[in-house]
């Protein structure tokens, strides 16, 4: 087939090949969770941040660490605790007695991949210090604004069940995460494989990087050129707007959510070897990209409807752009 529109004749195989390498590499550690791994990669390819959320012991931190290990980028980890201070993340100006001058000691945020483990254990004050970093890829310390290295990605984990000693993430913070990924329990066979794989040694120790930082930046540029037809673009907007008028929702998705869904769809299409976006891509990503940004009404929560159910319901009411 010849191509009519610019972007459709885009050579997308580098993304597909890199995606294959990455998924295979992370798959050495995380057993049978191809979809969550793919979603993490989607976020990486559109410079989005990922919130990995699930019950303890599922492999959230393992997935985050395997992702970081698979990328040839600088990696820092923050273990969130209630006494963690913003300066512990951003860095601090300290007085050097030898030179008799104030010097800046950068915090762990000055990295490519930042793993914020158990993010909801940090206080809202500390959580908020990440807002500027995540949105603007810069950090301001003592009136001095410093750019963060590129690529900059935050992979955060949180446990939604255990609430004692935790601080729910504010909406502004949640909105800055491109995708929320849930791992879910492994199947019986997968669990057996996990046991056999981790019996001798931790496969994470042998993991090597398969995608370099420079390559990742190139792939990100490539993903942004993936063609998205006007009607599909309109479909993205329609879904986001539908969340704002849905009865059971108090706060719908923001325009940032539309943009995120748009970019994520482009990245997913590229990962799957297509240089154009399908409505299927948008539908597939609707829950991971939108659910965490919504606030359900009390009665909706009391009826036991999860945000994922609501997003699915909203998507089922929006017409897909197909011939009539």
């Amino acid at each position: 087939m010849d191509k009519v529109v610019k972007g459709v004749d885009l050579e997308i195989s580098p993304v597909m090949e890199a995606a294959d390498r990455f998924i295979t590499n992370v798959g050495k550690v995380i057993v049978g969770k191809k979809d969550p791994i793919e979603l993490v990669l989607v976020a990486l390819l559109c410079e989005g941040h990922v919130l990995i959320e699930d019950v303890p012991g599922i492999g959230k931190t393992m997935l985050a660490k395997a992702t970081a290990e698979s990328l040839g980028c600088t990696f820092k980890r923050i273990q969130s605790t209630p006494d963690l201070l913003p300066s512990d993340i951003t860095g601090i100006h300290y007085f050097n007695q030898k030179t008799a001058e104030f010097e800046f000691r950068p915090g762990p945020v000055m990295t490519n991949i930042l793993l914020v483990d158990e993010i909801n254990r940090a206080t809202p004050r500390t959580q908020s210090c990440l807002l500027e970093c995540m949105q603007e890829q810069q950090v301001t310390v003592d009136l001095e604004t410093l750019p963060l290295p590129r690529p900059f990605l935050v992979i955060a984990t949180q446990n939604p069940v255990e609430l004692e000693g935790t601080f729910p993430l504010p909406e502004a913070q949640l909105d800055r995460f491109l995708l929320r990924v849930k791992l879910g329990y492994p199947t019986e066979d997968e669990e057996r494989t996990i046991l056999s794989r981790f019996r001798q040694e931790n496969p994470l120790d042998n993991l090597t990087s398969v995608v370099e930082a420079k390559e990742l930046l190139e792939l990100q540029k490539l993903c942004r050129q993936v063609y998205i037809e006007d009607s599909v673009c309109q479909y993205v907007v329609a879904i986001t707007r539908a969340t704002r008028t849905y009865q059971g929702i108090e706060l719908g998705a923001s325009p940032r959510a539309s943009l995120g869904l748009h970019l994520a769809s482009q990245a997913l299409a590229a990962i799957r070897g297509r240089n154009y976006v399908l409505p299927d891509d948008v539908k597939y990503l609707a829950v991971p990209a939108l659910a965490h940004r919504l606030i359900a009404k009390t009665e909706t929560r009391l009826r036991g409807h999860s945000l994922e159910d609501i997003v699915n319901e909203v998507v089922s009411t929006v017409p897909v752009p197909v011939e009539e």
Binding site: M1, D2, K3, V4, V5, K6, V8, Y227, E229, V232, R274, N275, Y276, V277, L278, P279, D280, K283, V315, S316, T317, V318, P319, V320, V322, E323, E324
Partner: protein, 478 residues
């Protein structure tokens, strides 16, 4: 090579059909406007000429705007040549009178329609038609649509001729020629899509079969010409006039009835007329009057609006009648009917679609700086086939849910038509690629797509373990 020959013949037949109805209209206008001073054949030659020149221009990989400009420049030259030769043959080329005749005629457009204007309009229309044909993909649907459109134009022209009591020579040969071209074109287009007796195992003897079919058509034409006499045509026209008179009478009666529902104004004694004093003209004051040109423009606009409403009303009535007929036909036991995508509704929708496509092309041209005109028609073909598939399955009682994507709907389709899963998958893939990926299918892919669609139409729906054939199998023609 065979395919190219067929396409060439399709172009010839389309030009032939167009030539027939154009001949009738131009002859009529020639009689009314130019007292038969113009050579109709001479004017008509511009139609194939326009097709040929635009076809050649299309080979050049230039920007659309340049091609368009060159094409219309050639038209201007051609039109001026026709004007000089047909109306001012006696004048020398250096004499500017013939050049000034056209602007003068245009200046008098609101008062009289001069032969110069007839040449201007008719050559412009023919040039546009020729250019359109040069860029058009010839297939079965196009042939049928051209036939239907030509037939309607011919009928309208003949009714007008009858109403004006004009004696038009060569009407019977023109109609016969029109049908000859139409039958030939439609049969070849049908064969090209692999659904007629000219395809399949007979494809090897295509040339022979074509000659036989032409001979048959000619013999049939002769037979028809012996039966269709001017008297018979007069009878048909008289019948049409009678029907039209009945409709008009009915409308008038309805209007009169509606008018009678309104109370008549009470007659009142009018006060005696008091002579008004003559207004004193004040210096510098001029009464506001609408210029005549504006008045004429408003008149034309008003007439067009009213004509538009009338056509729309007629279309609504006729579409209701046709849909009732279709329902009746569908209700007949064991009957199979084939609804051709022609008629006024399809033509009207086609016109709207073309306008939209043109706007889209313009937008794409602006965005990309390249000319995708020929590319979009192929994408449109893929989308058309998928649309037909959707309609066909929906008519069988399994419509697509509005929130289902083509891939999701594919699961439903495969459940319904398991034996056609390969074709369904192929059509869905092609559609998705063309619709969302703006990918242009190749000639082979388009051909395979049509074949797949024809195969699907012949399959049966599977429902809860039992099978049933869809009522209007093959109902929507590709």
């Amino acid at each position: 090579m065979k395919l190219d020959w067929r396409r060439s013949i399709l172009y010839v037949t389309t030009i032939g059909m167009g030539g027939c109805w154009l001949y009738t209209i131009i002859t009529l206008l020639n009689k009314q406007v130019a007292d038969e001073h113009l050579s109709t054949i001479g004017l008509l030659l511009l139609y194939p000429l326009a097709f040929g020149i635009n076809k050649l221009l299309r080979q050049l990989q230039w920007h659309e705007i340049y091609l368009r400009a060159i094409s219309w420049l050639v038209w201007v030259i051609g039109m001026l040549l026709v004007l000089k030769i047909q109306l001012f043959g006696g004048l020398g080329w250096s004499d500017s009178t013939w050049l000034l005749a056209l602007p003068q005629a245009m200046g008098q457009i609101f008062y009289t329609f001069r032969p110069e204007l007839l040449i201007l309009v008719s050559t412009a229309v023919m040039w546009w038609l020729g250019r359109r044909l040069a860029y058009q993909r010839m297939n079965f649907v196009t042939s049928v649509s051209e036939f239907q459109f030509g037939l309607v134009i011919l009928l309208i022209t003949f009714v007008t001729i009858s109403l004006l009591r004009i004696d038009l020579a060569n009407s019977v040969p023109v109609i016969l020629t029109f049908f000859l071209f139409a039958l030939l074109g439609i049969s070849i287009a049908h064969a090209q899509e692999g659904t007629s007796w000219l395809s399949g195992i007979n494809q090897g003897h295509w040339a022979g079969l074509l000659l036989v079919s032409i001979s048959l058509i000619l013999i049939l034409g002769l037979l028809i010409s012996s039966l269709v006499t001017p008297d018979l045509l007069q009878l048909v026209v008289a019948a049409l006039k009678w029907v039209w008179g009945m409709i008009l009478g009915f409308i008038m009666k309805v209007m009169a009835f509606i008018a009678s529902l309104f109370p008549a104004p009470e007659s009142a004694e009018l006060p005696p007329v008091v002579p008004m004093p003559e207004p004193e003209p004040s210096p510098g004051y001029h009464a506001f009057t609408i210029p005549e040109a504006v008045q004429n423009g408003l008149r034309i606009g008003w007439t067009t609006l009213m004509a538009g409403f009338l056509i729309f009303a007629l279309w609504r009535i006729s579409s209701q009648v046709f849909s009732w007929l279709r329902r009746k036909l569908a209700g007949m036991a064991g009957a199979e009917y084939e609804s051709l995508p022609g008629a006024f509704r399809a033509d009207f929708l086609g016109l709207l679609k073309r306008i939209l496509t043109r706007l889209l092309r313009l937008r794409l041209s602006l965005r990309l700086g390249r000319h995708p005109s020929s590319l979009l028609s192929e994408i449109a073909s893929v989308r058309q086939i998928y649309r037909q598939l959707l309609h066909w399955v929906a008519a069988g009682g399994y419509p697509r849910q509005t929130s289902q994507t083509p891939h999701e709907y594919l699961y439903t389709l495969v459940d319904l038509l398991p034996e056609a899963h390969v074709d369904l998958d192929f059509i869905t893939r092609q559609y998705v690629s063309a619709r969302y990926g703006a990918s242009l299918p190749t000639e082979d892919e388009l051909h395979n797509l049509r074949q797949s669609w024809h195969r699907i139409k012949r399959t049966r729906f599977k429902k809860r373990g039992s099978e049933h054939t869809q009522e209007q199998e093959g109902g929507l023609n590709g």
